[in-house]
Symmetry: D2
Subunit: 137 residues, 4 copies
Amino acid sequence: MTLPSHEIEVVPSFYDVDPMWVVWHGHYVRYLELARSALMTRLGYDYEEMAASGYAWPIVDLRLKYVKSARLKVPLKVRVEVIEYENRLKMEYVISDAATGEKVTTGFTIQVAVDVKTGEMQYVTPQVLWKALGVTP
Amino acid sequence: MTLPSHEIEVVPSFYDVDPMWVVWHGHYVRYLELARSALMTRLGYDYEEMAASGYAWPIVDLRLKYVKSARLKVPLKVRVEVIEYENRLKMEYVISDAATGEKVTTGFTIQVAVDVKTGEMQYVTPQVLWKALGVTP
Amino acid sequence: MTLPSHEIEVVPSFYDVDPMWVVWHGHYVRYLELARSALMTRLGYDYEEMAASGYAWPIVDLRLKYVKSARLKVPLKVRVEVIEYENRLKMEYVISDAATGEKVTTGFTIQVAVDVKTGEMQYVTPQVLWKALGVTP
Amino acid sequence: MTLPSHEIEVVPSFYDVDPMWVVWHGHYVRYLELARSALMTRLGYDYEEMAASGYAWPIVDLRLKYVKSARLKVPLKVRVEVIEYENRLKMEYVISDAATGEKVTTGFTIQVAVDVKTGEMQYVTPQVLWKALGVTP
């Protein structure tokens, strides 16, 4: 079974670059967010639907490895792929130069489900996620 | 009658500066927010108290004039002063070099009170603001 | 004579919205930058070409008027138009709801040309700008 | 031998918090930067001195683990500690509630030295770092 993945394009802006004319390392977190949100929107389970489902999905772990610098206005591809969903939602990311395909950054995020009413963390992810991902229990 | 004013220090960080090693013009809005929030906290009417009072205070107008560039790690003073409160809350700002006193940026913000329940804009600002400012009707 | 204008679409992201689920007022400066940079790229006189021409174009004045709140993932149109170029570069912006056309924010930016070598502000904008704008002296 | 460490206080601002009134996970990267820069300033080897020494120190790896949410205006302590320096500069961070001491976030960053002239990564960190850290070869 293949889990869902998605790809977006991001173009670094002037406010993204530092004095070396390269993207400041902290701004890549925004690029991950854009890719993840685009994927979840396509699957019908983004912020609004999460709120409606009674679960919040805070990020509990984040990793970014920087391979190459991204530059002002040089388009990037951001690919996100779901790789775990049973107990927590883990996604892997590859950011690459859109023209050359060279790898720029890799990373992952891990989210857990929290019941908004009780504030309790769920050790098995809720069925609404499984449904959105198209997996069967 | 003198209306309340406040002064804070801000030190530009690496993520604030652009390829010219000067603060990107959009980041000054954050500096205004820090000064305004510090003033309102001192007056006992910041975000939390605004929410509790039943009014939101969206910014409806913003102006920034850039006189001189601010540089990485060169401390700035941000002075904020209330200059109107009867129908809208207007504050003026002066950002200057903390060491030399040279003017860096000036600006203003205008906020209006919105009744959170009805969504209606208030054409006279609510008494809770007047009290916080120490002015008598 | 009509001066150049341009229009882009921006979709507010999760990191753009504040506790009221609306775009924090300071983030609109980024939206202006995106539109301005897209226009200048089309005209062949964006950051790289500015640097190559020996002029920097710092923003010296910025105004934003907030008419309506922008919301998470609700697409915006950002229209930018050059309205002055002889002595300074002034652009006006209108941000509106991409679906309904309702006005969200208006604003302007003013930039001046600075000779990078001498550091001197130019009281008449350099010919390289006029050429990019398609205006004849 | 104890390697240098440093501690700063950070107060989350309105533009740091998301619709849940907690700090958006990506903004913690800024908090790490503030602590790291304060430490390196104290040691006399921050951005300016790095540039003067002929080395750039890009971040090549970043990890953040989120334990507890940080809230608007609730002061945080950010502690940074150097834990490796021979071949790369690794620092560990602990962000905690300044009042209660409760752990909020932990993380690390890894930087490598790059010779600015040749663009070559250094597999042994330059002596200028060792000197700043007070370690002897």
